[in-house]
């Protein structure tokens, strides 16, 4: 064999050996979940819904313990060896059972609150957003795309009914036997449903895109309208009397504003919302504040959750919607306390243990 051929064969070997080495490498496709999650019934903290990127299925759930001052990420993954799905959006905690609404997977993961292990996956839902109990056994499930509210039996976990409200739905607030359902996406309506009959009894016009609602100490409903995805108008904060079904207070934001994430203190006297920074308003003397409570600086505040019983305001920082975000903790006066690394696009927070 000529020296040229020998050279060729040596060359081929040099190529094939690293190729075989490369091919032999293999590993898992998901990050290891944490097995540190053990929640006791009275433990103070909050669940954090990391939405993840739309359609990428990289959402996750974290738990921050106020008692131990540490965050545990990927608690669903660790407990079930799979991700919760695409866009885990909100969560209802009822004692030892919790209901995780996974928006773009069209399902609700019913889990043990203390182990995070799945009890049942309720699938086939159309873009669910929030699950809100309306009586001891039933809850309403809102939908981003559907004009129907799904009714779920919280014991049997069966969908028992659907209520046609004629438009899509977002947040739900229950006052006595009425459910106030905000129609957020592209709409400007709060629909009032009589819970016993399931009938729509009225609609209340709001500003564009009522994004969030809370109930205050005086049993008044506050509705925060973002002004529209395309910034069609400035935001608007409304107070609705659930008895008369009338708007009794309307506060307009400046054009170009985009207020979101309305929350209320445990005592029901102070509203908190995001408009870039964090702002606070007294429900008894409502007026737009001149100054923010917490300045966002370079951060991209995405959701807030006041934990006034423990003296904190939690803010999620989505960074750039690509990297892992953070959970930021502030005092009630807006002083920064600490920061904890969370998942991608940390969103809604659900307080656990008072």
């Amino acid at each position: 064999m000529s020296s040229y051929h020998n050279t060729i064969y040596r060359y081929l070997l040099l190529v094939l050996i690293p190729l075989i080495s490369i091919t032999a490498c293999s590993s898992d496709d998901t990050p290891p979940g944490s097995d540190d999650y053990r929640l006791s019934p009275g433990e103070r903290g909050l669940f954090l819904m990391n939405e993840g990127n739309f359609t990428r299925g990289n959402g996750s759930i974290s738990f921050f313990s106020v008692d131990s001052n540490r965050i545990v990420n990927d608690i669903f993954l660790a407990a079930n060896n799979r991700s919760p799905g695409d866009v885990p959006f909100s969560m209802l905690v009822r004692g030892d059972t919790s209901y995780i609404v996974v928006n773009n997977s069209g399902k609700i993961e019913v889990v043990s609150t203390y182990s995070m292990r799945t009890i049942k996956s309720v699938t086939g839902l159309n873009s669910p957003r929030y699950i809100v109990p309306v009586d001891d056994n039933r809850a309403y499930i809102s939908s981003l795309y559907s004009n129907e509210i799904m009714v779920i039996d919280l014991v049997t976990l069966a969908i028992t009914d659907t209520l046609s409200i004629g438009m899509t739905s977002e947040q739900i607030v229950v006052v006595d036997d009425k459910a106030f359902i905000a129609s957020w996406s592209g709409n400007n309506i709060v629909t009032v449903v009589d819970i016993p009959s399931g009938e729509v009894i009225d609609t209340i016009e709001t500003g564009i895109e009522p994004e969030s609602m809370v109930l205050d100490i005086d049993d008044m409903i506050w509705v925060l309208c973002s002004g529209g995805f395309m910034h069609q108008e400035g935001g608007r904060l409304l107070r609705i009397d659930p008895a008369s079904l009338q708007v009794v207070e309307s506060i307009g934001f400046a054009q170009g504003s985009y207020p979101t994430s309305l929350r209320i203190s445990g005592c029901g006297k102070h509203l908190y919302y995001l408009d870039g920074a964090v702002y606070s308003i007294s429900v008894r003397e409502p007026a737009l504040p001149d100054n923010s409570l917490i300045d966002n600086g370079e951060r991209l505040f995405y959701r807030i959750e006041p934990d006034t019983d423990n003296g904190y305001i939690f803010v999620s920082d989505a960074v750039d919607y690509q990297r892992r975000g953070s959970l930021l903790r502030y005092s009630l006066t807006g002083t920064f306390i600490d920061k904890h690394s969370a998942g991608i696009i940390p969103g809604n927070m659900i307080i656990h243990g008072k």
Partner: protein, 636 residues
């Protein structure tokens, strides 16, 4: 957040069809330029200092079901990010993004001006006679904007072949049916080529998943059918010193876009229809040492996207006109100068723009080939873009090639290039968020390569390897301005480096032949953040393709092994798709039938039934079969 992502993803999903170039290259696919060498069936194509690779169609199969996506993912270092069979497939060349790989057809850039990228699954190989990869710096002379490289599809007149007719039909698992016809006919002075194809696939294969509920379930892919119809007519007229061509390519496609496995199938029902018309006419004439050429092209397209569930509907039309001229002067052996000018006009009609958008672009180019000695060649390419009257920094590349052994075809090459890419019309005009103040993206590319071609006794070989580095700055990234608004900015930086290895060894001749092909690459691409290097998502560090094909009399057989390394799916590299290796086997038999040559082949795909994904949560097909029948009368 979800709705903004919906709008942006609809923008991304629904504009994946081909369009016209932003800056076309000066050369034409059927040029009569002296000195241009078109090599088919060989692995690499020499260009002084630059790496080009001609892909062998036989590796992927020549049926109408085969697309550019199939070929590239079987035989090249370019990574194809395909969602599902027949679904959107984008190309990543040397660790860059889909918008940094330019695809051309007979000199026209097919990248969509709205997105800047092309969908390789809509480019059937029946529309081309050869596919050439222009790696890294060589892209300056091949297609503007290819910061990673250029994929060139070209058709040929076939002056040296007799009239022939080729009819092919295929049928395979999960409802794949395809028919195609290619006819070449005419005289020594006038040639015609007619190509027609129809392809349909249900893509309703089964897969196993425990993502949605935690229980392992067998599910079937829904809403994934794809249809594609193609008609192409070409006319070539040659005179004593001239060549005139006219080409028309009409294509319509419609497909349903399946949801990922982690999403309820009821949550979306997306459909994408894309119709395109591409026409090119050119005239080239030689006088003494000079060759001048004129060409004009017109392209139009229409894309309709709809989602029955969300109610999102998008209807987009685009038009592009191109006029170009060139002059080549050969002043010695291996020495030439070529100058050219290109004018282009893009018109895009989109509901997501405030009004119809039109932009004019022009560029001047100069290409110099200079043979320093019989073993030393050099090449300089310069393209000076002129946009809306403003002179912009030129794209420039320079390469040298040296043959260290006079009697051997061993080539040592090096090149350096500075390139740019203009923003897409979506980057500039999309509402909300479009940023008309964006600058061009910039890249600096360098490469060293060695190649060796030769033959001895019954063997022939063509092999080479390249080391490269590519730094992109001012990269356009869409970033959040606030909770509801995203806008593109020139803020990204990516550094890619790696190596590519390719070897083709053939033993024997036609009738009794054995051929082995190996293509392997390693790509480190990404950014450094807090002293930690983060690999770009969906850029595999390792890619390898191996094929072994043989022919003995009427029988043929082929083994193809494709390995794709780990691909990160999250920016922080915490989640990834595991590596996979897919094996295909094909056997064939040829016979004379009805006055023509008939070839029957049976291909078993993914024979080891590997469960794999190219995009997270989009399962790819399990083991499947495809049968093909081809009847050819006349010589090809």
């Amino acid at each position: 957040m979800i709705r903004s992502t919906l709008l942006i993803s609809s923008l991304i999903f629904h504009s994946a069809t081909a369009l016209f170039s932003q800056h076309s290259c000066i050369t034409t696919g059927d040029t009569i330029e002296l000195g241009e060498v078109v090599v088919n069936g060989r692995a690499s194509v020499r260009g002084a200092g630059f790496m080009k690779t001609s892909l062998d169609f036989d590796i992927a199969g020549r049926g109408n079901s085969t697309t550019l996506s199939t070929l590239i993912s079987s035989a090249s270092p370019v990574y194809v990010r395909s969602y599902t069979p027949g679904g959107i497939a984008s190309l990543s060349f040397r660790g860059t993004g889909a918008a940094h790989t330019v695809v051309t057809w007979n000199g026209i850039t097919l990248n969509n001006p709205m997105l800047g990228q092309s969908d390789a699954s809509l480019l059937p190989l029946i529309a081309a006679d050869q596919v050439t990869l222009y790696h890294g710096g060589s892209a300056v002379g091949a297609g503007h904007g290819g910061l990673g490289g250029v994929v060139e599809m070209a058709t040929e007149p076939g002056w040296n072949s007799s009239n022939h007719l080729s009819v092919m039909t295929e049928a395979g698992s999960y409802g794949r049916i395809s028919t195609g016809v290619v006819a070449r006919y005419g005289s020594e002075k006038i040639r015609h080529t007619t190509r027609m194809g129809h392809y349909r696939a249900e893509n309703n294969y089964k897969f196993s998943s425990k993502v949605l509920t935690g229980d392992l379930v067998r599910a079937r892919v829904k809403n994934a059918s794809a249809n594609r119809d193609l008609f192409m007519q070409e006319l070539f007229i040659r005179g004593q010193r001239s060549l005139s061509t006219a080409r028309v390519w009409v294509q319509r496609s419609d497909r349903n876009l399946p949801v990922p496995e982690n999403i309820s199938p009821e949550s979306h029902r997306e459909r994408l229809e894309e119709n395109t018309l591409r026409t090119v006419a050119s005239h080239d004439r030689t006088a003494g040492r000079a060759t001048w050429g004129l060409s004009a092209a017109l392209n139009s397209g229409n894309m309709k996207y709809s989602d029955e569930v969300t109610g999102i509907i998008s209807d987009t039309r685009y038009y592009k006109a191109i006029a170009k001229s060139s002059l080549l002067w050969q002043y010695g052996k291996g020495r030439s100068l070529k100058g050219g000018v290109v004018f282009e006009n893009d018109i895009v009609q989109s509901e997501n723009y405030s009004s119809d958008r039109s932009r004019y672009m022009a560029s001047l180019s100069l290409i110099s080939d200079y043979r320093i000695s019989d073993r030393f060649d050099s090449n300089i390419n310069m393209v000076l873009p002129l946009s809306d009257g403003d002179v912009i920094t030129p794209d420039i590349s320079a390469g040298v090639e040296y043959r260290p052994v006079r009697e051997r075809d061993i080539y040592m090459s090096g090149n350096i290039a500075a390139k740019s890419r203009i923003p897409t019309t979506n980057d500039l005009y999309w509402i909300p968020g479009g940023n008309p103040d964006l600058k061009r993206e910039r890249a600096v590319n360098s490469e060293l390569s060695v190649a060796y071609e030769g033959s001895a006794a019954m063997f022939s070989w063509d092999m080479g390897c390249a080391l490269y580095s590519n730094r992109i700055t001012d990269m356009i990234l869409w970033q959040p301005v606030n909770a509801s608004l995203w806008s593109p900015r020139n803020v990204g930086k990516v550094h890619s480096r790696g190596f590519e290895v390719r070897a083709v060894v053939t033993a024997g001749e036609s009738g009794r032949m054995l051929r082995a092909m190996l293509s392997s690459s390693r790509t480190i691409s990404g950014t450094k953040e807090n002293n930690e290097f983060l690999q770009t998502i969906y850029v595999p560090r390792n890619l390898a393709h191996f094929s072994l094909s043989g022919q003995y009399g009427r029988f043929s057989a082929k083994l193809m092994v494709n390995h794709t390394g780990k691909r990160y799916t999250d920016y922080d590299n915490s989640r990834y798709l595991r590596p996979h290796t897919i094996t295909d086997i094909e056997i064939g038999y040829s016979a004379e039938l009805l006055g023509g040559k008939t070839n029957l082949s049976l291909r078993a795909e993914n024979v080891l039934n590997v469960n794999y994904q190219n995009v997270a949560y989009y399962p790819m097909p399990p083991a499947s079969l495809m049968a093909a029948l081809r009847w050819t009368v006349g010589e090809r």
